[in-house]
């Protein structure tokens, strides 16, 4: 895809030998591997899409493993994409020929930190939604703890679509715009989340008050949050 791998350091005004010396002076770095990443990064900063594609190919698996360990497999893929967007936004902050991996994983930590902050806020909103529903119905529509747990078991993407639609009252067009997905994808996520919630909260409980109450715009019956 690129010829830069054969000529490390060429764009930096360094001879290959000088480039190797500078790269190998960084502790614990595999010279060849790191040189390839640096070359990709230099090409990327120069405006070449191949540089980005090479960087993606070299790092996507490592980032996937990092996020899977830190945030779970369901979320890892989304966070990897967010990290590459962050890399794109912040590409000026990388200065060759410093190692690329610490820079990339520094940005990945930022993405993870923001994801955790957003998750925490979402949980707060969900808890608030449960309180509002309880206040509105005078008694719990469903057990608040059960609902929280059920929501937590959903993949974050589905949960977000469901909460935005059923709790915040967003249209699917708004959700699609917010999540950068299609309207059909937003409907699908919400619908799958609803089915999962119904299954999780309805089975075994046998309580009528857990049955859906309202028919929503998606053609689904009800909303456990009211």
């Amino acid at each position: 895809m690129t010829t830069r791998r054969e000529k490390p350091g060429g764009d930096l005004g360094l001879t290959p030998l000088a480039f190797e010396v500078r790269i190998s002076s960084v502790r614990g770095v595999s010279t060849e591997d790191e040189a390839r990443l640096v070359s990709s990064m230099v090409a990327y900063q120069a405006g070449e899409i191949e540089g980005f594609a090479n960087l993606y190919a070299d790092l996507v698996d490592e980032l996937g493993r990092y996020f899977a360990a830190a945030a779970g497999r369901d979320t890892a893929e989304d966070l990897v994409q967010d990290t590459f967007l962050e890399i794109h936004r912040s590409r000026r902050t990388y200065r060759p020929p410093w190692p690329v991996r610490p820079w990339v994983f520094g940005l990945a930590r930022n993405v993870l930190r923001r994801y955790r902050r957003a998750s925490w806020r979402r949980r707060q909103r969900e808890n608030e939604a449960v309180r509002v529903a309880e206040a509105r119905h005078g008694r719990p529509v469903v057990d608040a703890g059960d609902l929280r747990e059920a929501l937590r078991t959903l993949p974050p993407t589905r949960r977000e679509a469901w909460v935005l639609h059923h709790h915040h009252g967003w249209s699917f067009q708004e959700i699609a715009a917010r999540l950068s997905i299609g309207v059909d994808a937003a409907k699908l996520r919400s619908s799958r989340a609803m089915r999962a919630l119904r299954r999780l909260l309805g089975s075994g409980a046998g309580n009528d008050h857990m049955a859906p109450r309202v028919r929503d715009r998606n053609g689904e019956e009800g909303d456990p949050l009211g």
Partner: protein, 226 residues
């Protein structure tokens, strides 16, 4: 073979991500290294050092201190402040974060220089401050240091905001410390009072304020960025 094909496919950026990157792929020039950006802030340090005594008047007991203890220690404190700014700029680069030991050393050196300047001034040019004017003098110095320091913090802090610091609060606090020390270095050439209680409360509080403002601004910028 199928598995290899699947892996090869997975290592290509997804089309939406590739589209976003491709749409905004103009060549970018990496930021200058922290050292050069710090050198670019030398005029700011000089303004803080010379501006305060030049705009009002140098401290009346400056001749008692002599060149080395008067100007020399203030210049030294300005340089330590610029080092703090440089370290903050380095801290703001993902993957180049400072170790705890380096951060501890920075704080220690800052405190030592601040105390050295205070004690030397007190020793060579003691001033007895009347109790009834103590608070007014301390407040006056605090205000003046903050008045000079806050705009300088905005200038230096803009370099942090553009970065993608993994520890924005640390980077912001370090840059606040640097600006605070530099502003205080100028204040010492204007304020003739070296009483320890006055210096700690009036001057030290201004430095702490700038540290807090730097940390707060960096945290807010990080939130806005996400």
């Amino acid at each position: 073979m199928k598995k290899e094909t699947r892996l090869a496919e997975r290592r290509l950026p997804p089309p939406p991500l590739l589209g976003v990157v491709r749409d905004d792929l103009e060549p970018v020039r990496p930021y200058l290294p922290p050292l050069l950006r710090t050198l670019a802030l030398l005029p700011l340090g000089a303004v803080l050092l010379v501006g305060i005594p030049a705009l009002w008047s140098p401290r009346p007991n400056l001749p008692l201190l002599g060149g080395l203890a008067g100007w020399g220690l203030s210049v030294l404190q300005t340089l330590v402040g610029l080092v703090a700014v440089g370290l903050a700029l380095r801290e703001a680069v993902p993957g180049r974060e400072l170790s705890r030991r380096a951060l501890g050393a920075l704080v220690l050196v800052a405190v030592l220089v601040f105390l050295a300047l205070t004690l030397t001034s007190e020793w060579l040019a003691p001033v007895a401050l009347r109790r009834r004017v103590w608070a007014a003098e301390a407040l006056g110095c605090f205000r003046m240091a903050a008045t000079w320091g806050v705009p300088a913090l905005l200038v230096a802090g803009s370099l942090i905001v553009r970065a993608a610091a993994t520890r924005p609060v640390v980077a912001g606090a370090a840059i606040g410390l640097g600006v605070g020390l530099s502003a205080d270095a100028g204040m010492r050439l204007f304020c003739g009072v070296s009483t320890i209680s006055h210096v700690v409360v009036g001057h030290g509080a201004a430095i702490l304020l700038l540290v807090a403002l730097g940390a707060l601004a960096a945290a807010v910028a990080d939130r806005l960025r996400s």
